[in-house]
Each structure stands twice: as structure tokens, then as C-alpha cells.
Assembly symmetry: none
């Protein structure tokens, strides 16, 4: 048992491990924008080189979109399949970044030093904690205690369009026992968390079309239907005054959280004051009468993520545009069915717009919510490992965001997933000045060393 | 009384008058694009030469923007001040023009020959009808029957930023009795029109700010107020189900159109079917229960001209943005007060948004509606002159768009304005292949000869 040596390896190699992360963060692997396709390929190839250096067999596999990196090392039961993603969100609004988002910068923050860059937390830093754990194990023990595979995609931020097909056609390589994912957060900077409830996701984009050309509002204003006005009206009809979503059958399959979990959550000393003050707000705008934690972890939502139409440049142009657009997403819980809700959403819009308007819808993939059983050996192993590393029992948390791959692992490979991650609430993922704490980076790797060891011992 | 000789002069010199218009149309005086500044100066200088040739004293005056041409000739009461503009709209989309927009081309159309070029109708052709009328009078009579001044600006298409200041500082040169404007249309190709009701305008831009940064909708969706949702809600609250504007006191000062005018309008054979089918629509979305013509000419409106917020690029980004924006404009009628409505609008928004949101407003200039008294000597003179020239009584028309100079003439110079113009609905102003009918060009000049003569006799 050389556990302490492996833990020490992480400390002794801190500078080298950070340098590797910084190299990785410099690659502009924005998956949603085609002009960065080459950068995505570079990120995949960087990972292949890095994993080979650690001791894995690794290869970047072509897909219809960005490559998927597959790597394996070690032998013996159980076979663990780790998932991460190398792609990152776009950087706009760019002017709000203090530094170039792809020139990683180390600064001190409220919890020690942190690295600031797009992808620092989501998911490059998190993904590297696992690779560094494997690096330490192989360096000290000469080998892994069991077979470990990694699957790292480059399209997570665009809804993983190639991922499921890839799982289907590579099932033979992926016959693992458990899946591990490092793309979630801690409860707070002292308390680790295991995410056991994940909200699902449904995305819809819509365009409302009215006149066959842009119109002068002096000559046509009044009689000519204005698609922006229609769009604002139908969007505002999606919620009632209590913050409930008004789409027909939307709450079908939504179940209340069991009392013992509610009790655990209420003992978490979650401060809604802090939650709001950190983002410059004061009060909940969410669904009445649920608590903030319930609203984030266990209640479904409908959010408008983007809206545009008409003249949006400097100055004024008194135009009635020919179309208006919005991007809308839903967070789903329990047994809510994404495709049923998509259909009801479209009916809701169609039934409520002016009859001279046409609507076009563009689907984004939908995924159901996930609940992971708390009494599995996997969860128990992680619980012990995290307690050992952090000195605090991990919280069984919900997760407001969706991690669709967890559903894919279950459906396609029959795998249960362990979700452990080390991001903090103030990591500004998807926002300007995204950061990852170096403490998360170091103790994250140590946590994975312990988790791998516990699971290998347990099984 | 040599009226018939002056009328004949226009016919006998048709070729020469058209050649002069074509010369003028070749100048690329696009005011909004700085790279055409020199062309704007050339257009002003061309006018100075032309007006001097006709018999005016004329000069191009410098402004902060493009020059303003001022010209005067004649003596005696009344002093008439004619307004026009030499600047034109940009030409994009250029590929939709059949010919170079600055190589005027004569083609036959549904109402005889027409000249196709940017500015043919708006406003070079219209402006030249008045200059040609003065030319004919001076050629035949040797002098004008009264004092006539022209003020011709080069920034109408960019909101006339230099115009009011110029009026203020040149009041002494502009002490006229009436203003004349040739920038409006006929009712149809046989029926002239005098525009007596012009809607006013009020512009407001607003930004709703919520969280201090963009948020991930998975981590914050639900409790964190979404400014796009707030924006859509408050915008949709600006109209009721009948298309009435719900802002407090909005209709204060709005008067019903007198019955005899309503009767005249109902006899105009206005086809709302044609109005809608031309723009790809079918039914009115305007204020119930008013007719389409009333909605455009005599009812106030609130239009959303632009909206933007959140992620509007390709793909999807599940963001809750920190702010959302809109550009909104109001068309005003009767005695509606732009500044009172601006205040009530802002109250309406402030009173209806979530208390964690802040709103910032950006004013755009407001202008009151204009109603020209139908029983003034000016209108009666024009009515008789147009009946004599066209054989049809002119229509007292409303005008949905605003012509801010009319307000400036009233406020700064205390002048009542006569709005007579000869453009047709199919002139494609501001669009590719703009044209002006040669019949409008010739009979427009003859109309002005008669109007000037009537006003001089009357007064």
C-alpha cells in the first residue's frame, strides 16, 4: 500500500502538473464555432500524446464532428470508464475578460491561487485531475490496480451529437463495470460532493416569421403584425405569476424529493443570501413555494437563453422586422419526457401566435433526468475516499445542470456512473474569467487516487 | 396672367429638364456613409450652380455634417420657404439593382416612362419639380411673384442632426410666411394628395440588468431572475388583447378623426387586401376596431424595432445573461406629448419588472404629431391649384411616418407647412430600383407653378 507516496507525488510535481494544464488550456477548442475545428483536433491530439506519456494506449477517433479520444491501460477487475470533454464554451463577451481567455493566468483568489482561462474548470482542469491520478499511480506502483479506460469527447458544449453513435459502434471496447465523470462541483471549498440527481435538458430554437420583408414602421406600424411583439408575448406566456411553466402536461413525471433527502439538504447550511449576493441579486425568481436548493436540484425550469430580432446596431431604425428569434432550454427532472415536452412546447407556441405568423423550430437534443441509487458499492467507495481526502463527509447533491452522457452510459452500456468533481460555485464556468482553484486541481487528483484505490479494493 | 405659358414651358423644355435631373442623380450623395462625403459636397455645389442659373442667389453653408444650401429670389409678400434634401439612402443590396443606381436609366412602366436611380423619387426628383417651377416662372415673367427661399439639406436620411441648429442660427434669413415641402406622395397616379396629418415619433432604448455576470442555466436556472424573461414580460404588457397600448395616459390628447375626413377616407377605395398581400400578410394586427387607414394615419402605435440578449450565435449556450435590451418606438398623433409618454413608459417598465432588475433608458428624440388646419389659406390655395392641374380634388391624407422638419419649422420659425408631393406607392424609395415617373416630374413642376401663383394671388 503506497497510497501516501502517490498522494505525495501530486504535491512534489505540482509545478509540472500545472504546466501541463496550462499547455492544454492554451488550445482554443471551442466546439460550437466551426472556425475553431482545427483547434479541437489539436486538443484531441494533445490528449493522445499526454495519455501515451502517462502510460496509456490512446487514439483520437474521427466522428462526424470533433474527434473522440479513447485510451486504456491496466488489467483486472473492475474496468473503470472515465469520461471528460476537451471542448470549451465560446468566450463572448470577450471584452469582459481581464486577460486573453486562452492565455492562462495564475492569480490569488479567496481560496488560494487559481488559474484563469476558458475551460479551466469546465472541463479541462477537472479532466486533468483524473489523468494526474493515473500518472501518480503508474509512477509509484508501475501499473494501475485495475483496467482503466478514458473516453474524452469534443462536443459536450454542443450537446454531444456524435457521442451516442460512437458508444454504439465501439461497445466492444467499452465493456466496463462503472463509469466515472469529473464535471461537477464541490458543496463548498471544504466539502466534497457526489452528485446523485441530475436534471435533464431540452433545447429549442424558434424563428417567428411575419411580413415578407422588413417594413417601415411609419408606413406599416399598426396593421402589420410585428414578430418581435409576438415573440415576447408567447415567451412571456410560458410562465405564470408563481414561476410555474404553463406548457400543457409539463409537470407530468415530476416527483417530490424524498423527505430524508430534503432533510439532508436542509442541514447543509445552504445560504441563499450568499447564493444571491455573489451574483448581485437578492431574491428568488423561481418556482413558488420551493426552496432555492430544491429549485436548482429538483425542479424543472424553462429559460430563455437568447433572443434577437430587428435592428440591434447603434442608433435607431424604425423597422418592423420580418422575423424574430429565440433560443429556449428546459431543465428536466424525474420522469419528464423531453420529446413529449418538445411537442407540447411547439403546440403552445403555434396555438398562441398571430395567424399571419409562421414558426420554424430547430431541435436541440433532449435528455432525461438521472437519479443514482445511494446504496451502491460505487457510491460507498467514493464516500469513504472523499472523507479520507477532505476530512469531511461528502454531500449527496443534486445537480442543476444536465450531464447527458450519464444517460447514454446507462442506456447504451448499462453502466452506473459516479459523479465527483471539484469545481466551486464561483468558478464562472461558461462566463468571462472562468477559473479553477489550484487546490481543486491538486486535491482533485488525490481524491481520484483514493477513489480508484477504494473501488479496486472493494470489488 | 401668363399661367398657360409657364405650364407650356415645362412641356417644351421636357428634354432639358430631364437632362438636369439625370445630372443631379449621378452624384452619389449617400449621407450615412462617410466615404461619400465628397459626393454630398458635390451635390450641394451642383444645386448652388443650378439655382444661380435659374436666377437665385445661392450658397452652400458649412455645418458639422454635410452642407445646407440656402437660396433666395424675388420680393414681396408672402415669403415662401421651400424645403428639400439632396442626400439619398445607401444602395444595398446592390445586387438587386437592375442597373447601376447612379447611372439613371429611362424605362417604361405601368404609368408611362420613369427614371430609375437612387434618389429619383426621394428626394431629388421631387425637389427638382419645385426648382423647375421657379425656372418656368422666371423665364416667362422675368421674376417671381413673391419672395421664395429654398433650404436644401444633405442629412435627411440620417435624422437631420445639423438642421435645427442651422435654423436657429439663420433665423434672420428665414423669416418666411409659409413652408413648402415636396417629400410626400400622391394618393394614386391620378389623384394628388395634401398631407395634413403627420404622426409624431418617440424612441426609447432600454437595457434590463439582472445578475452581475452571465450565469449557467443549470447552476442558477430557476432562482436567478432571467432578464430576457423580464424583458419579454414587460414588453408584452405594453399592449392589451385589442392592440391598445396599456401605458398610463397614453391616449391623452388622441382625438378621433372628424367624420367628414373619415367619410373622405372611406371613399378612397383603399384596398386593405392589396396593402397586406404586397407584404405577405392577410389580416390587421392593429388597434381594434379602427380601419387600416385610420390605424396608419390617425392612431398612435408602439412598435418594438429591435430586441437582443443572451447567446445569439450559432449553436446553443445554456446561459442566463446578465442583461437584455430592446429598441422601442412610438408613433404619436393629435396632442400626445412625447415627453409625458416617455415618463409614463419608463414608469410602466420600472413598476413591472422583478425587483432584482435594474433598467437603464436611453432617450431618442421625440416629436409631436402635426395636424395642419384644413381651412387655412395655404391649404385652400393648394387645393385649388392641384384640382386645376390634375382635374381631381386632392385627398387630405394622413402620413404614418414623421417628417421632423415640419415640427422644426413650426417650433423654431413659427411656420405652417404645406406638404405636397408626387411620388407613387410603387416608387421603391429606400429600396433597390427606386424610380420616379416622368409624369410626376412634369406635372409636379406644373402643380408648383399653380400653387405659387395661387398663394401669391391669395395673400
Amino acid at each position: 500500500m503506497q497510497l501516501s507516496k502517490k498522494i505525495k507525488f501530486i504535491d512534489e510535481n505540482e509545478t509540472d502538473l500545472l504546466k501541463r494544464l496550462i499547455d492544454f488550456l492554451k488550445i482554443q477548442s471551442i466546439s460550437t464555432d466551426k472556425s475553431f475545428s482545427e483547434d479541437c483536433k489539436n486538443a484531441a491530439n494533445w490528449l493522445v500524446r499526454e495519455l501515451k506519456f502517462v502510460g496509456f494506449e490512446a487514439k483520437a477517433h474521427k466522428t462526424a464532428g470533433h474527434p473522440i479520444v479513447l485510451a486504456s491501460a491496466g488489467a483486472g477487475h473492475p474496468h473503470l470508464l472515465f469520461y471528460g470533454h476537451y471542448d470549451v464554451q465560446p468566450t463572448d463577451p470577450r471584452e469582459e475578460w481581464k486577460h486573453d481567455p486562452f492565455e492562462p493566468t495564475i492569480e490569488s483568489g479567496p481560496n488560494g491561487n487559481q488559474v484563469i482561462a476558458r475551460g479551466a474548470s469546465d472541463d479541462k482542469g477537472q479532466l486533468m485531475t483524473f489523468i494526474n491520478a493515473c500518472r501518480a499511480i503508474i509512477q509509484i506502483d508501475g501499473e494501475l490496480p485495475c483496467r482503466i479506460s478514458l473516453i474524452i469527447e469534443g462536443e459536450e458544449e454542443t450537446g454531444s451529437p456524435s457521442f451516442e453513435m460512437f458508444l454504439e459502434s465501439n461497445k466492444h471496447l467499452l465493456q466496463a463495470n462503472y463509469a466515472l465523470v469529473c464535471d461537477t462541483g464541490m458543496w463548498n471549498s471544504q466539502t466534497p460532493a457526489i452528485s446523485t440527481m441530475l436534471r435533464g435538458m431540452l433545447g429549442e430554437e424558434l424563428t417567428i416569421k411575419a411580413a415578407n420583408k422588413d417594413l417601415h414602421s411609419g408606413l406599416y406600424g399598426g396593421p402589420a403584425v410585428n414578430p418581435i411583439r409576438e415573440l415576447t408575448r408567447v415567451i412571456s406566456s410560458l410562465h405564470d405569476a408563481n414561476g410555474k411553466v404553463t406548457i400543457k402536461d409539463f409537470y407530468k413525471g415530476v416527483t417530490e424529493v424524498p423527505n430524508y433527502i430534503k432533510k439532508q439538504w436542509s442541514q447543509l447550511n445552504f445560504s441563499s443570501n450568499n447564493f444571491f449576493s455573489e451574483i448581485g441579486l437578492n431574491v428568488s425568481a423561481g418556482e413558488y413555494p420551493y426552496s432555492v436548493l430544491e429549485q436548482i436540484w429538483s425542479r424543472p425550469t424553462c429559460e430563455i437563453n437568447g433572443i434577437w430580432g430587428g435592428y440591434i446596431g447603434n442608433g435607431f431604425k424604425t423597422v418592423i422586422p420580418s422575423e424574430a428569434n429565440a433560443k429556449i432550454s428546459f431543465r428536466l427532472v424525474g420522469e419528464q419526457d423531453p420529446e413529449e415536452i418538445r411537442g407540447q412546447f411547439r403546440n403552445h407556441i403555434r396555438n398562441n401566435i398571430h395567424r399571419d405568423c409562421k414558426v420554424k423550430f430547430f431541435s436541440k437534443d433532449g435528455s432525461k433526468a438521472i437519479s443514482i441509487p445511494l446504496d451502491s458499492p460505487l457510491i460507498r467507495a467514493a464516500q469513504k475516499a472523499l472523507l479520507d481526502e477532505w476530512g469531511t463527509k461528502p454531500v449527496f447533491a443534486g445537480c442543476g445542470g444536465s450531464i447527458p452522457v450519464v444517460g447514454s452510459f446507462k442506456e447504451i452500456l448499462g453502466l452506473e456512473t459516479l459523479l465527483v468533481g471539484f469545481s466551486l460555485e464561483d468558478d464562472r464556468i461558461h462566463s468571462p474569467n472562468e477559473k479553477y482553484n489550484l487546490k481543486s486541481y491538486q486535491k482533485g487528483a488525490k481524491s481520484w487516487i483514493r477513489i480508484i484505490s477504494e473501488i479496486a479494493d472493494y470489488s
